[in-house]
């Protein structure tokens, strides 16, 4: 069993129908479309969260869905993340497939006991009697002047929990396909949406004009139902000089910095942190011999530490230089000094120079 990469979901449709018309969507529109499709396809899917109903969500991800699918399929909740996740566990036990929204990832902590002790463990502790097939959507990450309570990247809290899957899309195309996979998955999935790139990819050069998604090739989102499997990384760019492991907003930042520096990087957008596409990582690092890990979250015990350990354990004899981590600093996310905190082009550029110096 172990000689095959045991990534989950390989058996699903990974490609859209060939005849699907080409449209360009931003990430919010892609997410909204995935939710709309799943509400229509599966009568057990329900959406709930703060302001997601009539109003359509503070980021508009659920706009129009209540009007189209009805108030018992898409509805507002009390301001209680513990309650939202807790009732979602009960709904899953009934047989529904809830897709709760936590308005900001920074607000998810009151729901942690229900996620960690309940949703994540339910299949195991009941030996499959009960499952928690929920997908918790939540905008995460900074770069929008959100201050410390609207900017955090808490993914490592969830990747540390046995029983949870953690998914982070970086493009509109993947956001739709990964979200559909997550909703259909029978395990609880944390689906973190990088809010900085809801409306356009972000290069990290914050003083340059904002680019809309429509100029980016991965804003092409096929109509209708398709899935991007969980546990499969995306090759953003093939290269020989070094491997870049990134996810969410930082995929675009890393790509822009490599391009600006003229570095022939092999860039992997991990897409799913758990389960992780270890085969893709190993293949890339074995090819390049150098590994740069980039995430926006704080450094200590961040997911980069796990990636660094895995690369070191499994690819050590291929490495030409120590693994480099570029991360946010170990401080709360500041407001006025946001760009000093953000792991932007300067920090990434220095790490690349260090990796390539010998």
């Amino acid at each position: 069993m172990s000689d095959q990469p045991a990534t989950l979901g390989e058996n699903v449709i990974a490609e859209a129908p060939a005849n699907a018309p080409e449209r360009r969507l931003n990430m919010i529109e892609a997410i909204n479309e995935a939710l709309d499709i799943m509400l229509a396809r599966d009568p057990d899917v329900i959406i709930m969260g703060e302001d997601v109903g009539y109003f359509g969500g503070v980021f508009r991800a659920t706009a129009g869905l209540q009007a189209k699918h009805g108030k018992t399929r898409v509805f507002d909740t009390p301001i209680s993340e513990c309650g939202i996740i807790g009732v979602a566990v009960g709904m899953g036990a009934y047989g529904l497939r809830p897709v709760p929204e936590i308005q900001f990832a920074d607000y998810i902590y009151p729901g942690l006991d229900q996620l960690i002790s309940e949703a994540a463990r339910l299949r195991y502790r009941s030996a499959g009697d009960y499952i928690a097939p929920m997908t918790v959507r939540s905008p995460f990450g900074g770069g929008i002047f959100g201050g410390q309570t609207h900017s955090q990247s808490p993914e490592a809290l969830f990747t540390h929990v046995a029983g949870l899957k953690t998914v982070i899309p970086a493009t509109p195309h993947d956001a739709k396909g990964l979200l559909i996979s997550a909703i259909e998955d029978n395990d609880p999935v944390i689906f973190f949406e990088p809010k900085r790139i809801y409306n356009g990819p972000f290069t990290g050069f914050y003083d340059r004009p904002v680019e809309p998604w429509k100029k980016h090739p991965d804003s092409v989102v096929p109509e209708g139902y398709y899935k991007v499997p969980l546990g499969k990384a995306r090759h953003v760019r093939e290269g020989e000089a070094l491997t870049v492991l990134a996810y969410g907003t930082m995929v675009h930042v890393a790509e822009a910095v490599c391009e600006a520096k003229g570095v022939d990087a092999d860039i992997l957008d991990l897409r799913t942190l758990v389960p992780l596409d270890i085969k893709a990582i190993e293949a890339s690092v074995e090819k390049t011999g150098r590994c740069l890990i980039v995430h926006e979250a704080t450094r200590t015990s961040g997911f980069g530490a796990e990636l660094s350990a895995l690369v070191t354990e499994r690819c050590f004899y291929h490495l030409e230089a120590p693994v480099e981590r570029v991360t946010g600093f170990d401080t709360p996310y500041p407001h006025s000094l946001e760009w000093a905190y953000f792991p932007g082009p300067v920090r990434i550029g220095e790490a690349i120079d260090k990796l390539l110096k010998d």
């Binding site: 172990s2 909740t77 807790g86």
Partner: protein, 431 residues
């Protein structure tokens, strides 16, 4: 910092922190005459569709049916047939016999842990008997009576307690953390009150689907301090969920008396009033009152009239679990002095008083329960007891974390089996 000897500037009084203290500690004479238990039959029984604000008195009174004369009194008398009453008594007696044997089994080293429900049998058995068998229950850890009442096989309970090779939960859970989807019995968590919002969510789902089944959850009075309980109340009220929130007020949360959950200020039933949830406070040692309250709440939920919070006022006659000795923190006299007696004894006396039971039949029933539990225990022991090798295969440790086994767990499973073979030469040294 303020100097207590010199009250702060102006005439502001010195503040003093109140730390609750139970009335009686070890060695004290227990006297519960301060508890107002009212009279059997003195509480009104409103229609099930009443607005919660019109029944507030029921959150402070005590619904009682069985009197000192062993007769049933008042509008809450559920008028159950003698057959149903005898069944109820039989379930309660079986749970008590089961608890005795399992507690002893833990002391004999057959398992790691056990929790009795002695004195609280009516709060799970009578209340769950008022539900339909497919109504979903989200219990805490002291409602083994529900499984007994629903006919769950005793041997499965014991296999679980022994974590043996026949344990349906594959030896993954602490003893008594049962689960049975077949019996509409949710997987028990050791984290407190988490089941409350889950029950509300299940009830919401049932309403979303236009189903007719309702949900019920049980939580200890101590755990009502958890945020989950309050989230559950909010959601139950907001969505008018068809759910029954049962608070088993057994006076003690391990060594902390109910005052640490707020009992010095108000009743637990009164928690419902602030949320606009119908609330009943019930004599939890009166099986007829427990049944009647649950039946009322079930009718209310089934009629789309919303949730009910029921406080069962009872007493935890034994320790919290096998891990504590109650003589270290409370008066040993409390159990005997408890003004509402013992639920099994009271139901028995009622049946005798109405000419439907007698001492000889009761003694025979007790003996039969003990024999049945003993025989089933011996049968379960053939599947192994904790720590004696008859467990599930090692690979099962890694299964059910996810629906499918990801690469990292497959690698770890191989490591675990390798370690085992290194140590014993075989994965399962005891067969």
């Amino acid at each position: 910092m303020a100097d207590p000897a010199n009250p702060a500037e102006g005439n502001r009084p010195t503040l003093a922190l109140h730390v609750p203290e139970p009335r009686y500690r070890p060695g004290d004479t227990a006297d519960f005459s301060h508890i107002d238990i009212g009279q059997p039959g003195d509480q009104p029984r409103p229609d099930e569709n009443i607005h919660p604000s019109h029944m507030a008195g029921l959150a402070y009174g005590l619904v009682r049916v069985l009197g000192d004369d062993n007769q049933a009194h008042g509008p809450w008398n559920p008028r159950l047939s003698p057959n149903v009453l005898r069944t109820m008594l039989g379930h309660m007696a079986l749970v008590r016999a089961f608890d005795e044997r399992m507690f002893r089994g833990q002391r004999q080293g057959k398992t790691s842990f056990y929790m009795k429900c002695t004195g609280e049998e009516a709060t799970s058995i009578a209340s769950s008997m008022a539900l339909a068998s497919d109504d979903m229950v989200f219990p805490s850890y002291r409602q083994q009576g529900i499984l007994i009442a629903r006919g769950y096989p005793l041997i499965e309970m014991i296999n679980q307690i022994y974590s043996n090779k026949a344990d349906k939960l594959k030896g993954r859970q602490l003893p008594i953390m049962y689960s049975s989807r077949e019996h509409s019995f949710f997987s028990i968590s050791g984290n407190l009150a988490t089941q409350c919002p889950q029950a509300v969510g299940w009830a919401m789902a049932s309403a979303i689907k236009g189903d007719s089944r309702i949900a019920a959850t049980w939580v200890g009075e101590g755990s009502t301090a958890e945020g989950d309980f309050h989230s559950a109340c909010t959601f139950a009220a907001v969505y008018n969920a068809p759910v029954i929130l049962n608070v088993v007020n057994n006076q003690w949360a391990i060594s902390s008396f109910s005052g640490f959950a707020g009992a010095e200020r108000t009743t637990f039933a009164a928690r419902g009033l602030g949320y606009g949830i119908a609330a009943l406070r019930v004599d939890g040692n009166d099986a007829l009152a427990c049944y009647a309250a649950a039946e009322w709440a079930a009718n209310r939920a089934r009629g789309n009239n919303g949730p009910t919070l029921i406080e069962y006022f009872t007493y935890r006659a034994e320790g919290h679990s096998t891990s504590d000795d109650p003589s270290g923190y409370r008066s040993a006299q409390e159990r005997e002095e408890w003004p509402l007696g013992d639920p099994i004894n009271r139901l028995k006396k009622h049946l005798v008083a109405i000419g439907e039971w007698d001492e000889a039949r009761h003694a025979a029933m007790d003996l039969e329960c003990a024999e049945r539990v003993k025989a089933t225990t011996k049968e379960a022991e053939k599947n192994g007891i904790l720590g004696h090798g008859l467990h599930h295969p090692f690979h099962t440790m890694f299964e059910d974390v996810y629906e499918e086994l990801p690469w990292h767990l497959e690698e770890q499973a191989e490591q675990a089996i390798r370690e085992r073979i290194t140590k014993f030469g075989t994965e399962r040294p005891f067969g």
